[in-house]
């Protein structure tokens, strides 16, 4: 939604907090995402009355109650479809869709891929804690293979989904990844998502302290994080590491981590991130990176422009209306083959 510079300064995060007590478990990663969201909403300058926050079912889907905007806590898995209806009904609204790895990728998988395929202008926060929290600890479609949960007492035998792969498979135009404890990247991702026209999928890696504590500990430990993640920035060389001396290069068809200054590598040898590249091949490679050989990609991985579904609905109606003489119901009646009795 269009905002003017003057309105942008009008809000603080507090204006986007509802009067409801936030009821996530102490230490839950969802708190950090909520706080980042409210900060980003304030920065974007869209009034709470012009925002709709739509969720499905699950721990994260309680979020609309904590937002002072319009909110709708719907049914399991259907947030993407409800949000599609909201945006098509009123394209002027800013629509945030709140969903989790179970809600979005298990019961709601179909709606997820189709809303991404249509490129409806939605900002999707996909809370991925790799577990079912609200039903008390069953494995989800993103749980690592072999992980022991209440419904997989001998370890899961399922191959997990990777949300980025699904998003790109559904021809997604935007994918970003954030980590609950990294507020700066979180806000960067959400801001970019809000600005992107089309379905912006933001995978939020969140920690479930009760049922899957430490699922993201490989990258969440402060001391080692800088060496284990890379925060991608459009137009910038792919540099990471505590000492900012590591980078990514292409080795054949694969990505490879290198150290600047070793084997003659300089910064100019590194790949430069292009989030706007239509071809998603490199975006996919980046999103699929795993440790310890490669850093986990964070930030905005893909951000390309395409016509949105909701815009196309409006455009097509306008085109037909411009050519048609039928403007009212009575005009419509007049088009009938009709006779006097």
């Amino acid at each position: 939604m269009e905002t003017t510079e003057s309105t942008k300064t009008l809000y603080t995060a507090k204006d986007f907090k509802s009067d409801q007590y936030v009821r996530w478990c102490p230490g839950c990663g969802d708190y950090a995402v909520l706080n980042s969201l409210q900060k980003v909403m304030a920065d974007m300058g869209v009034a709470p009355d012009d925002i709709a926050v739509i969720s499905g079912i699950g721990c994260s889907s309680r979020l609309p109650y904590y937002s002072s905007s319009y909110g709708f806590h719907t049914i399991h898995g259907r947030a993407a479809a409800v949000a599609t209806g909201v945006k098509v009904a009123n394209p002027k609204l800013t629509v945030w869709q709140i969903t989790g790895d179970g809600d979005c990728l298990a019961i709601g998988g179909n709606h997820f891929i189709h809303s991404v395929r249509r490129n409806v202008d939605l900002n999707v926060l996909l809370f991925n804690n790799q577990i079912y929290g609200l039903t008390k600890g069953q494995y989800s479609p993103t749980t690592k293979k072999g992980f022991v949960t209440k419904s997989s007492p001998f370890g899961t035998i399922e191959r997990p989904f990777r949300p980025a792969e699904l998003t790109f498979g559904a021809r997604g135009t935007f994918f970003a990844r954030l980590l609950d404890v990294d507020l700066k990247t979180a806000q960067l991702c959400m801001t970019a998502a809000a600005k992107h026209k089309g379905t912006s999928v933001v995978e939020c890696l969140v920690n479930c302290v009760i049922f899957n504590d430490g699922a993201h500990s490989w990258i969440s430990e402060k001391e080692t994080r800088a060496d284990r993640i890379i925060v991608l920035e459009d137009g910038q060389p792919m540099i990471f590491g505590k000492d900012r001396n590591k980078g990514l290069v292409l080795d054949g068809f694969n990505l490879k981590a290198v150290t600047i200054g070793e084997n003659g590598i300089t910064e100019s040898n590194l790949l430069v991130h292009d989030a706007t590249c239509q071809d998603s091949t490199i975006h996919m490679k980046l999103a699929m990176m795993e440790g310890p050989e490669l850093p986990i990609a964070m930030g905005v991985i893909r951000d390309v422009e395409e016509e949105t579904y909701d815009e196309a609905v409006v455009t097509q109606i306008a085109e037909v209306q411009a050519k048609s003489k039928v403007k009212t119901f009575d005009d419509l009646i007049a088009t009938c083959e009709q006779w006097e009795m």
Binding site: S69, E337, Q338, W339, M341
Partner: protein, 614 residues
């Protein structure tokens, strides 16, 4: 003109039958429309297989279209045909039982060959004798294929294209048989093929040759006259199918309410034509999302409703099952929503192209929790407009999901429809929040009607959180307090019950002092009314109470039913409405007449049953 006799009839039934690619639907539609323009009452019903193109000439591929013409009010497409047009032996075999004694069969003698008989499973070369009907019918053979070929000689078409026009030869022949000038048919064809002059010219040529062929037959068969109807109320009319009428009812309601119309839907027989029609009405600003599944169809509509559109979803039985949980959300969130179920034969995939009334209990009760929704049903194709409009009005004014039941029979069938104007339709006033109510809770409601006030995203000062969790009556916050939950359950029920105050009284048709009351609901009105009228005309005393509003029932329903000593509930299921009425109307023994064959009632079978009961 020839000297053929003319017989005047009050009404006549014609059935066109052939391969599903033979163009029988078009032929039937053209014939019924031109008859309506000449002043007849009309009612039609297509009966097609679910296969798009079954193997040619086989029983599975037979597609039919029945037309009932009348010089006085007619209510149904008729039971058995007086005239049957068959394009091949398979069509004859499928319809042989139906043809009336003394009826006429026009058949394409070119297809009545050894291979045609084999495909249709005839074991001899005289199918009429084999079917044991040769004594009781009159035959008009016409070598439709050969005649069409010679008619189009010189047009330079390939044989396949030529044979596609043989339905026009049959139409010409039928126009002759019914003393119909073909000008009107030519006018229709001009509208349809105006942009393809060669095709138009060819069709007109074949049509004309068909008509002249009849004229020159000098058969001993009498032709028919069906005079203009004089009891049809004066006015402008068109012929409309139930599904189109439903679509237009939604469009009219949106305009009347000053809202944009949103349809979320997924293709499903026999409801898809509603989505087709609305997708084609971008001129009226209709937004149609062809969703990825039935659930997304309804949930996108719920989202659109939350955001302030008049939202609807269209489906059939299996789709309604998939939408159950979402209907519950609309009940809980108290959002306006129209769910149209064009019922078909079930359970499961059942018989997709056939008609039934077997979704009533699903519509009433098919949800988790105490989940009251409005349930109503349209009675005829033209009626679908009114009830679709009223479904929207009730949904918007009472903040509730409304399930409108139609069925394959009235959805695909057509009837005369008196054209309305927007001005003559009732006002629709959604129950919006009012200025000064800023900051009100999501559960704020009119304490008399229990209708929640509607505010939508974008309205300043009304931001709220809605959802499927139980809410506190006062604060609108999520709540699990036991007493509050019961209060909310009761509130949602009272809200739906209160709608009965706005419903028209249940009418009694036929003889009000009757010895027996026939009860029906939805798409069976035509057959029940015809049977009741016929019984009363023959001196019996019988009444009809036909329901369009089922939940809630009209306020006088209980009193009306209790007035009669004998009550029979007739429906195309195993007794669902009877079951419902037993729970609503004390002290009445409900007799039942049920049929679950995927076919509408016949007037004949109803009369027989009523005679036995009296």
């Amino acid at each position: 003109m020839d000297n053929t006799k003319k017989t005047e009839l009050d009404n006549v039934v014609v059935r066109f039958s052939g391969d599903s690619g033979d163009g029988m639907q078009l032929t039937g539609t053209l014939f019924s429309n031109l008859s309506a323009i000449l002043g007849n009452e009309i009612s039609t019903f297509p009966d097609f297989p679910s296969e798009i193109r079954a193997p040619q000439g086989t029983l599975g591929g037979v597609s039919g279209f029945q037309v009932h013409l009348g010089s006085s009010k007619i209510y149904t497409p008729g039971d058995d045909p007086d005239v049957l047009v068959v394009m091949n032996p398979a069509a004859l075999k499928v319809n042989a039982k139906a043809i009336k004694k003394g009826g006429i069969i026009i058949f394409d003698s070119d297809t009545f060959s050894k291979s045609g008989f084999e495909k249709a499973g005839f074991t001899t070369e005289n199918p009429f004798e084999e079917l044991n009907i040769s004594e009781t019918i009159q035959l008009i053979p016409a070598a439709l294929s050969t005649l069409t070929q010679s008619s189009l000689e010189g047009f330079g078409f390939d044989n396949k294209t030529i044979l596609r026009s043989k339905n026009m030869f049959a139409l010409g022949l039928i126009c002759w048989l019914f003393n119909r000038p073909i000008d009107q048919a030519i006018h229709f064809l001009t509208n349809k093929f105006g942009k393809k002059p060669t095709i138009l010219q060819a069709n007109v040529k074949v049509l004309t040759d068909g008509f002249n062929y009849g004229n020159n037959l000098h058969l001993s068969i009498s032709t028919y006259m069906v005079e203009k109807s004089h009891d049809t109320p004066k006015g402008k009319y068109t012929s409309i199918s139930g599904n189109k009428a439903t679509s237009w009812g939604l469009i009219a309601a949106a305009q009347k309410a000053g809202l944009e119309l949103f349809l979320g839907s997924y293709p499903i027989t026999p409801a898809t034509d509603i989505m087709h029609e609305l997708a084609n009405r971008k001129d009226m600003g209709v937004k149609v999302v062809q969703a990825e599944d039935e659930i997304a169809g309804i949930t996108s509509a719920i989202g659109a409703s939350f955001a302030g559109d008049l939202a609807a979803t269209s489906t059939s039985g299996p789709g309604l099952a998939l939408k159950s949980e979402a209907i519950g959300l609309a009940v809980m969130a108290e959002l306006p929503l129209v769910i149209i179920d064009v019922m078909r034969g079930g359970p499961s995939t059942g018989m997709p192209t056939k008609t039934e009334q077997t979704d009533l209990l699903q519509a009433l009760y098919g949800r988790n929790g105490e989940s009251p929704a409005v349930v109503m049903a349209a009675g005829s194709p033209d009626d679908c407009f009114h009830y679709a409009f009223m479904a929207c009005k009730i949904a918007l004014e009472h903040m509730t999901p409304v399930i409108l039941l139609t069925d394959a029979f009235i959805g695909n069938g057509t009837a005369l429809w008196k054209l309305p104007t927007l001005a003559e339709l009732p006002e629709i006033k959604p129950n919006y929040v009012k200025p000064g109510m800023e900051g009100c809770k999501v559960t704020a409601r009119n304490e008399e009607t229990k209708v929640r006030y509607w505010s939508v995203p974008g309205m300043k000062g009304f931001a709220h959180r809605n959802g499927g969790l139980e809410k506190d009556y006062e604060t609108g916050c999520i709540a699990t307090d036991p007493i509050n939950h019961e209060k909310m359950v009761n509130t949602r029920q009272v809200k739906v019950d209160y709608i009965s105050n706005y419903l028209p009284d249940l009418k009694v048709e036929g003889n009000a002092d009757a010895d027996m009351l026939v009860i029906g609901w939805g798409g069976t009105h035509g057959h029940l009314m015809s049977a009741v009228n016929a019984m009363n005309n023959s001196g019996k005393k019988i009444a009809l109470a036909h329901f369009n509003y089922i939940n809630p029932l009209p306020k006088n329903a209980v009193e009306v039913i209790q007035r009669y000593k004998k009550v029979v509930v007739c429906e195309l299921n195993s007794g669902q409405f009877a079951t419902f009425l037993r729970s609503q109307v004390p002290g009445v023994e409900f007799l039942q007449y049920n049929k679950v064959q995927g076919q509408p009632f016949t007037v004949d079978e109803l009369e027989n049953d009523f005679s036995e009961l009296l």
